[in-house]
């Protein structure tokens, strides 16, 4: 190496994220994991109510192609106070959709910090980590943390039971919140 040669600066890895609100809290999700953002009124696929007592955070489902997609009420998932949701995030390569209050903004994060080890319960599944934006700490959600494979299995079984029983009436106008 030549003396005085300048060291190449490491390119900063950035990730585009969507900041969204659920109840009074702001969360971030990688925009790469969101396939569509829809208004609750404009959701195609005839959402249906679903009632699975073990999963009260899921109240609606709809069909996408051959698959059932389950709508997770984000406030219920995180144990937050119920709020007026207006948007649905359809997650990419997933049978999960998220019911959220609204989008704060889209931005980029340059650093994702691991959740400190003191957090040792479900939040370790809920979050990929934490990021600092404008001197504020924002949890970055794990898209796979909203419904586990086991929970999807339980919901599929509930959907089958519901179909066999005739099912509740379809809410053609969108989600009945």
């Amino acid at each position: 190496m030549q003396p005085g040669a300048t060291r190449k600066a490491q390119p900063v890895r950035t990730e585009q994220i969507i900041l969204f609100r659920a109840s009074s809290q702001v969360f971030a999700i990688s925009s790469a994991s969101v396939q569509e953002v829809r208004s609750v009124d404009g959701l195609a696929g005839s959402p249906k109510e679903i009632h699975e007592p073990s999963l009260p955070k899921v109240r609606h489902m709809f069909r996408r192609g051959e698959r059932n997609v389950y709508v997770v009420v984000v406030t219920a998932h995180f144990g937050l106070r119920p709020s007026q949701a207006s948007l649905i995030f359809l997650l990419r390569k997933s049978r999960t959709a998220l019911l959220v209050d609204g989008i704060e903004k889209m931005t980029t994060m340059t650093r994702l910090q691991a959740l400190p080890g003191a957090f040792c319960h479900e939040e370790r599944l809920w979050y990929r980590g934490l990021t600092v934006l404008d001197q504020s700490v924002v949890p970055v959600v794990n898209p796979a943390g909203f419904l586990t494979e086991e929970e999807l299995f339980v919901l599929d079984a509930a959907a089958v039971r519901m179909a066999e029983a005739g099912g509740p009436p379809t809410d053609e106008m969108g989600l009945n919140l």
């Binding site: 144990g79 479900e122 600092v132």
Partner: protein
């Protein structure tokens, strides 16, 4: 009669929680900082109040007063930022304290089996017998503590 084994003199930081004083081995102390904004987000780990930012690092705030003196602190004078070893990494936690902290050197008496798990040792200072705290037993997420999802849906701490 056997007397408890006396350890060598060690540096400790005395901290105040309400009316009581406790000690932490000085080697576990990173810094003492003025209270700053606590950021809160949904989680289910009891004992964590939120997080603070220290030089870009996210540090969880663990209010240990409720466990040690029976009630949460109504007044936070400082955050004592301490470290715990977790595998190959150091884990940071901020402990709210209600008064000045003091660095002392004291002889430690090891804890006995009948002591609470949060007591690592005892020291005597100014005529007072003081618990030297075991951070691993006192704060959540110490190595070995399992991630156990709750079966119910308790209120999230947000």
């Amino acid at each position: 009669m056997n007397h408890p084994e006396q350890l060598d003199a060690r540096s400790c930081v005395l901290l105040r929680l309400g009316e009581r004083r406790f000690a932490l081995a000085a080697e576990h102390i990173a810094e003492l900082v003025a209270p700053s904004r606590v950021y809160r987000f949904a989680h289910r780990t009891p004992g964590i109040d939120g997080v603070i930012l220290r030089r870009g690092r996210v540090v969880p705030v663990c209010d240990v007063a409720e466990r040690l003196v029976g009630k949460k602190l109504t007044y936070r004078r400082f955050y004592l930022v301490a470290t715990r070893r977790r595998g190959a990494n150091l884990d940071w936690v901020a402990l709210p304290v209600s008064g000045e902290c003091e660095l002392i050197t004291a002889d430690l008496t090891p804890a006995s089996e009948s002591d609470s798990p949060h007591v690592a040792a005892w020291l005597s200072h100014d005529g007072e017998v003081i618990e030297v705290l075991n951070l691993d037993a006192l704060t959540p997420g110490a190595s070995g503590e399992a991630v156990v999802p709750h079966s119910g849906t308790p209120e999230a701490h947000a």
